[in-house]
Amino acid sequence: MSDVTVEAMEGKVVTNQLPTGAIVGESPLHHSDLASIAEKGPQQGGVHFHERKLKGLLTLRCTPSVEQLSLIESLLGVALPMQPLTSVTADAISVRWMSPDEWLIIVDGEQAFELETRFQEKFSGHYALVNISGGTTIFEVSGSHVVDMLKKSTPVDLHASEFPVGKVVSTVFAKSGATICRLADEKFELVVRRSFADYLWLWIQDASREYGLVVKA
């Protein structure tokens, strides 16, 4: 028999996933040098591509009580979108409904650790908050032919009557997956897996060829 007693651990460990010092974080499209393409590549076209790289992404899972809901709102600064397929987009923070008990929180890369720490300090009950920044990246696609490009890539109905601004869906995208949010009539956000980012970037280049692709820094 061991005389060691196991205690329920009260402290929650939060690790800052951002590299410090001389180590520079690289987006999964680092090798593509999008900045140079943006500068030297075509400046006009029907599809515009921009990588919102190195953002802070947190997955929140819980079935919030009324008290938890108001606490979440005070911690995030915005209310959780409770209706299926809805989202909140503010200046400093975006929240995407992912499933009835799951939300994706997007902040600036440096803010993820701070928000995570604050959340773990103040929040209690049955929940999980996980930093998934390292496994994802965000593409922003826009332009007069962006819907045509997306139609080649996903079976989701993108007509404005079915897919209004603010709607968010997780779906199949070019044999991979993406969480698609409509930010404006002709502007969409794609949250994609880091390991699929290069493949999807190649796919988007191919799907955009007939409309002309413009890379935005």
Partner: protein, 97 residues
């Protein structure tokens, strides 16, 4: 195009986003250690394979990743209803045959 209604996303989505996970309403024995080999074997491996109305567990794998139930006619492929796990189906096979 074949669309399936997800009761969690509350809309129809393309079949490609879903995956069938076999027969629904299979309760796990409360005390597995008390099961006979026959009882445990039937829970683990034996599934109904009806021609006609069947209750199936599906998952919205590429979407919200939630499980839900579908009552489906295995003969015509018609989906007769979709309902959440924990709910009872309103369409059931006529047992008197």
């Amino acid at each position: 195009m074949f669309h399936i209604y997800c009761p969690h996303c509350c809309e129809y989505r393309e079949e490609e986003e879903f995956h069938a996970s076999g027969q629904a309403h299979i309760p796990r024995p409360l005390d597995p250690d008390a099961c006979t080999d026959k009882e445990w074997g039937e829970f683990m491996y034996f599934r109904a394979n009806p021609r006609g109305i069947h209750h199936e567990l599906w998952v919205h794998g590429a979407g919200c990743r939630k499980y839900f139930n579908i009552t489906r006619n295995t003969h015509t492929y018609e989906i007769l209803e979709v309902y959440k796990v924990g709910e009872k189906p309103s369409v059931v096979a006529n047992e008197a045959k």
